[in-house]
């Protein structure tokens, strides 16, 4: 394979019935950086039914081009037509690097496309680097349940493909008025040829959605000691108008449901304020919250690793500190007025 013929950084723009998956925009930042380093263009791949508006949004996020395939058969995600369309684009336009979000859709699609276009694929990455001279993508990913990080490269085949875990990267600012080129292609198959049919959806109100979007998170760990003490965490969260969360040890102890777990095997969060109460700061927890803007740790052990990551730490017994903090915040947030609640300052 002549690798020189492959140029451009591609990102799969994952949309679901017209709604863009946040990971696509998160990837735009990394994609732009890599494209600039390689002195090449950043392109999005957008499939769906009537989704052209999203292509325009993509330009604001820094894309130079969007490859757009619109067809009724692409309204719902299905592996067969999506694989067909994306593989066709890859074979025709030959990107050098192709990134997808490590969502259920992204992973389903990436595995099939990589096999179809015969290239290597790195799953569920948390970091991306590129080497300018060799133009190799270094995709960093956790293995063995997060105990070890490995850098994976694909040196002989193109494109270099990777899926990237949601919420580990920050979406760039939108640049209003930025434009780019839309390249349209037709879906190379007909609905009749697609043997999989979507019969419907079951919507669920998943509580984790809150955790994803929460601007303030108050998380409790094993140090909470017992189920009833979780009230301390809830009270503080309530005063701040934030959401509660937990470490795995607290979840395993049964004090709170698994959907509240932050970390490697839970949710990755990046709120403006993250308060860790009685959490030691095991690496598997930290990777799920370390990009929070302000991290506050309350722990009685001054050696607890959480203090190495925290913006502010208080060493002491949470039984004393948390109620005091809740009370203090209650007073201060009320200001002169009597109304409760809080706004997060936008910065």
């Amino acid at each position: 394979m002549s690798m020189e013929s492959h140029r451009g950084v591609w990102i799969f723009l994952e949309q679901n019935h017209g709604e863009m998956a946040p990971v696509s925009w998160e990837l735009a930042g990394a994609g732009r950086r890599i494209a600039d380093k390689l002195d090449t263009e950043l392109a999005g791949v957008l499939l769906g039914d009537n989704v052209e508006d999203l292509a325009k949004q993509a330009f604001a996020y820094g894309f130079d081009k969007v490859y757009l395939v619109e067809d009724g058969a692409l309204k719902d995600y299905r592996n067969i037509p999506y694989t067909k369309a994306v593989s066709m684009l890859v074979e025709k336009y030959k990107p050098e690097i192709f990134l997808l979000g490590a969502t259920t859709m992204g992973r389903d699609l990436a595995g099939a496309v990589a096999t179809e276009v015969q290239t290597g694929l790195t799953a569920d990455c948390t970091e991306l680097e590129v080497e300018e001279d060799t133009r190799l993508l270094h995709a960093v990913r956790p293995t063995f349940g997060g105990k070890l990080m490995a850098t994976i490269i694909c040196d002989v085949l193109r494109p270099q493909m990777a899926t990237v875990r949601p919420r580990v990267m920050a979406a760039p600012e939108q640049q209003e008025g930025r434009t780019g080129e839309i390249i349209r292609e037709a879906l190379p198959m007909k609905e009749e040829d697609i043997v999989v049919k979507v019969l419907g959806y079951i919507q669920e109100n998943v509580k984790t959605a809150n955790l994803d979007e929460a601007e303030i998170i108050v998380a409790g760990g094993k140090g909470i000691g017992e189920a009833k003490n979780f009230k301390l965490v809830e009270d503080l969260a309530e005063v701040l108008g934030g959401t509660v969360a937990a470490s795995r040890a607290a979840v395993d102890a049964g004090w709170i449901g698994h959907e509240y777990q932050v970390g490697q095997t839970g949710v990755t969060v990046r709120p403006k304020i993250y308060i860790a109460i009685g959490i030691s700061g095991a690496i598997q927890h930290l990777v799920g919250m370390q990009t929070s803007e302000v991290i506050i740790a309350i722990n009685k052990d001054p050696e607890a690793p959480i203090f190495k990551t925290a913006t502010y730490g208080i060493v002491g017994d949470l039984q004393e500190i948390v109620p005091a903090l809740t009370e203090e915040l209650r007073k201060r947030l009320a200001g002169e007025s009597t109304t409760e609640g809080v706004e997060v300052a936008s910065n």
Binding site: A123, P142, K147, L148, V198, D317, A334
Partner: protein, 271 residues
Amino acid sequence: MHVVVCIKQVPDTTEVRIDPKTNTLVRAGVPSIMNPYDIHAVEEAVRIKEQVGGKVTVITMGPPAAVQVLKEAVSLGADETVLVTDRVFAASDTFATSYVLASTIQKIAGSEPVDLIFAGKQAIDGDTAQTGPGIAQRMNLPLLTYVEKVRSIDVENKKIVVERRLEGSKQIVESTLPALLTVEKEINDVRYATLPNLIKAATHNPKAWDHTVIEADRTKVGLKGSPTRVGRSFVQQLTNEPGEIIEGTPQEAVVSLVDKLFAEGHLVADR
């Protein structure tokens, strides 16, 4: 209904440790287990067999010691097993692995048509979730990933309806058979093995196939056939700067923390 299940033997990652001095994985003494998702895949295959009749064949690509997980599969109700084992397979990535497994299934299908293939959602050692999609694509079969429920199987018309997990919702899809499904743990509760199955497993001898049996091209397997390479591996380090410890009595510390949060504009009072 002939169901083939792909299972993998993996180190129990909850027991894997990192040597703090060398930053390498300590695998010695770590027990090997059947990949937890694959146990559910075997269970689902056996349930389908019980429901509509047929046969369950379980395959794994791995070292000779992987017979252990095949025996476990028999204890769960599998009928036949194949260990695909060959030195040339060593160091295969998911691209090469899916080639080996697809070739194996094709070989099996040669003597007895395959109606359904199961794999786990992902393997806990690599967590790639790529092997299933890879096999489906190579065999040109419909792929249904993250399946949480098999709603119905229509043997006569060769159709299956499943529920797939997506972020925040589930998708209900119908597919023709044969198809490849990767399963979540939610798909079923694994039942305890029965005594007759345990006895059968204890005396079971899996077939062992090498690359010649499955007619695999040597250049497409192992290191040669794997487009990805593992570069550096390391233990996660954090990028954050260590922060400030706020001293004082609990009350003082709390007040000074709240002062800072307001002063830096992280919080504003509600007026």
